[in-house]
């Protein structure tokens, strides 16, 4: 037993030296996650602002100008120019000059004055479905605001209350900032890729160099090699988690409202699981190139597409929703969002922690089992 610990210690110390001497590993482990958080955090914003709006105003009245002002006042739409005729809309879309075209027909002001229904047209470039959806929602809200003003003006300044009003309070992320939604998911995604890649190279490298044969001629056991390889990367992963979450808190003001112990336990389990997945890939492929490809495919795609990071799991077709149950990032993201944004703890998150623990155990068991001591 004591000798076993000495052997694991020797393996871990050696691996730590490799990490310290290899600038690529350090870059991969520390610089890459930070870089990705900053790039994604700033670049991948799901907030739609400044939608370029071209205006085709046939009415040219104070009322029509008031409507355009209402659209552009909050900078949700940005006026990019006036169109001379309706046919120019297609060209504006094609050239990418505008994503929305507002057409105010002649007689708009007159119809309003007569108390009739005045119709304006909003053309949207729907090639980006998500952006269109948001633009539509904004336009609807703006139209209601303008309608209310017109009605009020018509009634000579008398206050009217709408007969029905539904008020929505958005909790946890009241400003609807996408950074708050993205950073937890991003944390899981970045850690998944980097951790799987790190360990997948670690064992394959020993096979390629032939040092695995040397290692096998010593009394070191299979589980000892797996654990010895895992420990230093686990420490490195811990530093990564702290780094990424600190960056999230600093740069994007991501709060931490819940129990940080739960977060720490979840991080540990998730790291072991992902590092274990890398070890399994390494043990099976024995080749750094193949291991790299297998890692990116098996870590990146599910963690991006099936984890709820970008696409809500509830909206997925049944097959994909079922598949998402075996993606550990899914559970880690739930814990991250829970602890950081919602302030939840053990009581709510234990099933996710359980799944993370299960995955970690499976990965370590599978890599140990698949680890052939004998040489081919």
């Amino acid at each position: 037993m004591r000798r076993g610990l000495v052997r694991i210690g020797a393996l871990a110390a050696k691996e730590a030296l490799h990490i310290r001497r290899d600038p690529f590993t350090l870059y991969l482990a520390l610089a890459l996650p930070l870089l990705m958080i900053v790039l994604f955090g700033y670049g991948v914003s799901l907030d739609i602002d400044h939608i370029p709006l071209a205006v085709h105003d046939e009415d040219r009245s104070p009322e029509s100008r008031a409507l355009v002002d209402a659209f552009t006042a909050a900078h949700e739409f940005e006026a990019v120019g006036a169109l001379e005729d309706a046919g120019a809309a297609g060209e504006a879309f094609a050239r990418g000059r505008a994503s929305a075209v507002l057409t105010v027909p002649a007689g708009y002001a007159d119809r309003l004055a007569r108390g009739e229904v005045a119709t304006v047209a909003l053309l949207l470039d729907a090639s980006d479905a998500q952006a269109t959806q948001q633009a539509l929602t904004r336009a609807d809200a703006l139209a209601q605001v303008v309608t209310a003003e017109v009605v009020q003006a018509r009634l000579g300044g008398m206050q009217v209350a709408a007969p029905l009003s539904a008020r929505a309070w958005t909790r946890y992320n009241p400003a609807g900032r996408s950074a708050l939604f993205l950073v937890p998911g991003l944390t899981a995604y970045v850690l998944a890729i980097v951790c799987v890649l790190l360990t997948s190279l670690a064992v394959a490298r020993e096979w390629e160099r032939g040092s695995m044969e040397q290692l096998f001629s010593t009394p070191v056991g299979r589980l000892e090699i797996i654990v010895g390889k895992l420990l230093p990367y686990l420490a490195l992963g811990g530093v990564q988690v702290l780094l990424v979450l600190t960056a999230g808190a600093w740069i994007f003001d991501v709060p931490a409202r819940g129990d940080l112990v739960v977060l720490a336990v979840a991080s540990l389990l998730f790291l072991v699981g992902m590092l274990g997945q890398g070890l399994l890939i390494s043990v099976v492929t024995r080749n750094q190139l193949v291991a790299t490809q297998a890692s990116t495919m098996s870590a990146m795609l599910p963690s991006m597409l099936l984890s709820g990071f970008m696409f809500p799991i509830a909206n997925m077709p049944g097959v994909l929703r079922a598949l998402s149950h075996v993606v550990p990032a899914r559970y880690f993201i739930t814990v991250l969002r829970g602890v950081l944004l919602k302030g939840t703890g053990w009581a709510e998150l234990w099933p996710d922690l359980g799944m993370l623990a299960l995955f970690a155990t499976l990965m370590i068991a599978a890599s140990t089992a698949r680890f052939q001591r004998k040489l081919a």
Partner: protein
């Protein structure tokens, strides 16, 4: 005292290919046992089985008192192994490499530190512990590798072609170390394809195509497999091939081999054929000198005999 290594009917097949075919021998304690053979003859496969790295398909071996088939962990604890593709970690310092291999054998603390100093001293690398392994020349790296294999004071050390690709002077020095280790009681099992290294072993096993057709001291091997007197013949006016045929046709000549610029002629000890007869059979100025049989003569004779026995050139065990 029981022998350090007992090998009994050891075989290893890979699919239809038989890499090691029913090999049996014993190695005594403190002996330097050489394993000579061409590339692909089965030397490395044998060593891997003896180190518990590869399971035999038939037969068994006892190494340092532990059975390879049933106690591979025990075997690994008692042996040192220096593989052919030797694998120190180049970005680690010399001492870090050795500390790792010591740790892998469960050594640690003060005793490891003391032992490390002693081993570096022994292989002539005292004070070089802080050097990066990749910065050392090949010969020194090899001695570091040897230090790694003997750090935990194993009873048996396996060296798989330890001197491949190193210049002769460095090889000599390395063999001096091997000799010292054996004198200290460690059993050395070393594979090589250098004939001059085979001469330095206590006993030599000759491997051809997975079989072990010859095993003896270097002198014994020469007596059995390359008997007779050996003459070195240089000069003459005939083209080499013609000269070879002319000499081979003389009564009492056993064998003629090309050797550098000349020919080596092995003659039956009881034949009356002398240096003058050899010279007279060729025209022009011919230089004839008596020479000693070498391991090379032995090797070629054994390979020839095996080829005839099997009846095909497969006996050469092309890699």
């Amino acid at each position: 005292m029981s022998p350090a290594i007992v090998v009994d009917g050891l075989s290893r097949r890979f699919g239809r290919f038989t890499a090691v075919d029913d090999v049996s021998f014993e190695v005594g304690r403190g002996e330097v046992f050489g394993y000579l053979g061409a590339n692909g003859a089965g030397k490395s496969t044998t060593i891997r089985m003896l180190c518990g790295l590869l399971a035999p398909t038939a037969g068994d071996a006892v190494v340092a008192g532990a059975r390879v088939s049933t106690q591979p962990e025990e075997v690994r604890a008692r042996i040192g192994y220096m593989s052919q593709r030797f694998s120190l970690y180049p970005e680690l310092r010399v001492a870090e490499n050795l500390e790792f291999f010591g740790g892998a054998h469960g050594m640690g603390g003060r005793s490891l530190a003391r032992r490390l100093e002693a081993v570096l001293e022994r292989v002539g690398l005292a004070g070089l512990g802080r050097e990066r392994t990749q910065d050392l020349p090949g010969g020194m790296r090899q001695r570091v590798a040897l230090a790694g294999a003997i750090l935990h004071e194993p009873a048996v050390v396996f060296l798989d072609e330890p001197t491949a690709g190193v210049d002769p002077w460095v090889r000599r020095r390395f063999w001096g170390l091997i000799r010292e280790l054996a004198d200290g009681g460690t059993t050395i099992f070393v594979t090589t394809h250098y004939m001059d290294e085979a001469e330095l072993c206590g006993r030599v096993g000759l491997m051809v195509a997975g079989r072990l057709p010859a095993l003896d001291t270097p002198e014994g091997l020469k007596r059995t497999h390359a008997p007779g007197r050996v003459w070195s013949v240089r000069g003459g006016e005939l083209p080499p091939e013609q000269a070879r045929l002319r000499l081979a046709a003389l009564p009492g000549v056993l064998d003629v081999q090309s050797m550098g610029a000349g020919l080596r002629v092995r003659v039956d000890r009881h034949a009356t054929l002398g240096a003058d007869d050899l010279a007279a059979s060729l025209s022009g100025t011919v230089e004839v000198e008596e020479d000693a049989a070498s391991m090379e003569d032995v090797f070629l004779a054994v390979v020839d005999a095996e080829a005839q026995r099997v009846g095909t050139a497969a006996a050469f065990g092309e890699a």
